[in-house]
Amino acid sequence: MIVEEIMQKNVKTLTPKNTVRDALQLMQKERIRHIPLVDGNGKLAGVVTERDIKEVAPNPFFPNEQMEKLALPLEKIMKTNLLTGHPLDFIEDMAALMNDNRIGCLPILERGKLVGIVTGTDLLQTFVDLTGAGQPSSQIEIRVRNRTGVLREITEIIYEHHINILSVLIYPDRKNLDNRILVFRVSTMNPVTLISHLKEAGFDVLWPNMPGMPR
């Protein structure tokens, strides 16, 4: 999956000459936490985050002090020296980049111009889409040995039941690195016979277990 599939294209921006007050109002109105600042040529000059703004905006405990800070131009507080991404970058890489550098947003540039933004929220939404039920389905989790052919053996059994697989995720087993956890979403309301066949074939079905039987 590449960045242009998930990035926000309708980016709310300001210029470095705009004030802290402008940024505060835009963040409140649009419910956003990151504002890229672009100069007259559409070039990215910096970014201000909610935290940058809060550090200079008047403290709610002393609302009448430091009012002059609201008039500060954003270029005085903006972050420069930015990490940026490209629309063709892979989402996985950008997520790692954001995580490693502990940043909440990544401006996306094409030919030097700002074309989008990816935030932590967009990555979370992608995670929700990948793990959620896009279509009506049941979820089955199976713990397997990490070996060649195991996925094929399981999908073979699912195929024999004429059940469509809507998604497959493979997680490491945090308790035992020799194992993997396979998570299937299958398009049936009645996975009971499938599960009993998987168990008969020796697979460790973690969930669902048989109704009414706590593990």
Partner: protein, 384 residues
Amino acid sequence: MKEAVFVFSTDLLAYRFRNDHPFNQMRLQLVKELLEAIGALNREDIVKPRMASDEELFFIHDPSYVEAVKLAGRGKLDPVKAENFGLGTEDTPIFPNMHEASALIAGGTLAAAEEVMSGRARHALHLGGGLHHGFRGKASGFCIYNDTAIAIKYLRETYGVRILYVDTDAHHGDGVQWAFYDDENVCTLSIHETGRYLFPGTGNVNEWGTGKGYGYSFNIPVDAFTEDESWLECYAAALEEIAAYFKPDVLVTQNGADAHYYDPLTHLSATMKIYREIPKLAHKIAHQYCEGRWIAVGGGGYDIWRVVPRAWSLLWLEMAERDGGQGEIPASWLEKWQKKSSYPLPAVWDDPADLYRPIPRKQEIEEKNRNVLNRMLQFIGQLK
């Protein structure tokens, strides 16, 4: 005016996918005979279902889908096309005359709605209905036509009433929810086992509706192994609060009986107690807000021997305000059906206290469910 009518015909039993399929309308016969055995159902209580017309099916379904169901029932639907319509799958196999069987179910729910709206009956029960997974153009989860959504749309179009739909099936009422997701005149509430594992996977607490319908869709996904008290706490608090907020003209309840410990498809640990309590509160709400107008349908329920007959009989007894659901189950009924059942049939109406072994993380499950309930109540508080 009659207190309640019971929509029934043996023709409803024709909705049968395959001999080994878990959805088995034989349960309708079991319920009817149990009620007759206790003297709580008479010939004058019964209203026959009718076939829904194509135009009525089009309230919810695409004409191309209805056409596909008709073709499938005559063995003339191309298998590739069938799969796109969700037909011929493991969940909804094709069977002869499936259109007719499904349209009769839809018509049964319409008949129930007509009985109530015409004033012939205060309440109406159609246990053959409640096929809440049916989608606009796709069969899903044992459901072909979404009889309940059709009837709700019919009530909207014909009478302009505002409808509260309450779904206590163990599976999320997705088909009905999505059909009215942007409609502020139809408020849906579904309480079900969390969709993290269980079909259909939706029904999260944050599915609040969209557009004008935002704030008119409510879900309480409860944890696996949820027991009576926690389930009823969620149900009672949610229904009272939502009814007070929405103030419906008509109450429609879907009464799937698959949240019981015995049910083979789900993982909740409810007992017959919730099936006593669910209709009591619905009944109260119907009188408090809707001048009694209450249409109830069936739904899931896959232990057709030990669970459904008792659960659905209790629903009718509450609706019709009749006695009989106490103590022993009539011997005549037990004798007739025990031969066919693969399990020993319960001899009394209520489940024993030791129906299942104690649930290990009971308190945590209750706490988690209460958190979900509170998120919903908090949201409603913000809407007011």
